[in-house]
Amino acid sequence: MTRLHPFTLLALAAALVALAWLLPAPWGAAGTLAVAAVLALFSGAGLTPGASPGSTGTGMSPGWRPGLVVLRTAVVTAAPFWLFLFILHDVSTTVALGLRITTMVASVVWLVAVLAPARLVEAMVAAGWRAGTAYLFAATLSAVPVLKARAQRIVEAQRCRGLSPRGGLGPRVRALRALALPLILSALHEVDERALALESRGLVPGARRTPLAPPPDRGAERAVRWALVALCVAALVWRLA
């Protein structure tokens, strides 16, 4: 799956999200969620031991485990939405919106797991996009595992100073507050450093970058992408009719 062209992966994720909202609930959203779950489960296929496809950075082993990790991440991320929906709405609305939101979350988590930012940049540059625009997309994707690793380091350092992340609401809120500030500040600090590093290496507005190893874009994949666009348009027309 990681060998698919980055645009195909993006198109798949975008189509799943669009169809989840376009198709009638709950079955349409349930169907798209099932597809997203299957994609997530297979997101580890083709991985080598100790390597992740690109952005996950988890060093997962091949087989089912990476897919389960991706699926679990999606479920854990979506769970709070279900809670709030349940508090605010009746059951049928909760299910309809919950399935759609879970599809969105699962699609994005799957995309982050399988799409290597460097391949996306290469693909975008090869397709004629400006390097700065391509980097904007790639930086957003690559920020997830970087921030996750940094948050882990901060939590560990704080535990070694006596801060327990466990216990009741009070200790957890304290731990969250203690995590948020250094995480945000260091991320902001890094923005400056990254901007300087990119400028000093020639990434200025309007500059064109040479693609060294653009991912192959097969005809079949292009056809799939257009088919997904057609499917979404058809669903939209059907719903509006």
Binding site: G50, R153, E156, Q158, C160, R161, G162, S164, L181, S186
Partner: protein, 276 residues
Amino acid sequence: MTDALRLERVSFAYGDVTALAEVSFALGPGERAALLGRNGAGKSTLVRLVTGLRRPAAGSIWVEDWDTRDRPPEQLARRVGSMFQYADQQLFARTVRDDVSFGPRALGFAAPEVQQRVGRALAALGLEAHAAHHPYDLPPAFRKLAALAGALALEPRLLVLDEPTAGLDRALRARVASALLERAAAGAALLVVTHDLAFAAETLERALVLDRGRLACDEPLAGLLAAPPRLEPLGLAPPAVAALSRALGLPGAPVREADAARALARVAAGRRAPLD
């Protein structure tokens, strides 16, 4: 007397990759040990094991009479003070003073005791003038000192520090050395991961060298640093003072600046002036 730290045949692996293999050693109270070795030798892994962030796959680690397998890091913090490589990322309070006081407060010490500990830690590292500053308004080197002050304020029986002098200039390194020597004199054992052998020579007394996850060397640091042929296979290079001592053939092959200066003075005093 109970060891401050004791490792008994400790092994650890990341998946199929062995990080540590049957490492055993003990540190007594007040002992000052340098944990040396190439990048990837297992030093940081050992630090994470000692601080309780990871559990050994085999063997056991004891901090005095506590088995680290039975204690989470926040509990071990009562006895182990630690600082990691990315130390400045652990700062989060609005002022340096608040940040340094975080550990003692988290461990439940009374307010006067917290104030005293914070005062001592800030003074030991010369940070009093920055106590009211926001940590992120300080240069990275001072943020590192602030993080170290946070560990010192715990006044632990064991200090485990990962690269405490990386990025520090000579003056700040001297502050760190002085603060660590002070803590050791008070009975704290030191386990310091460092590539800064000049700092190690000035501050520490024992060398523990890891090589591909195994403890390749456990001996007095000065003796090891004075033997360059033994250092090279371990991925180490002698500090300038040790190399100079060896090149000049100074008696005792001193590796610390003060010792080398004294040896040089003795040699100079015993030699006649050129025009005599």
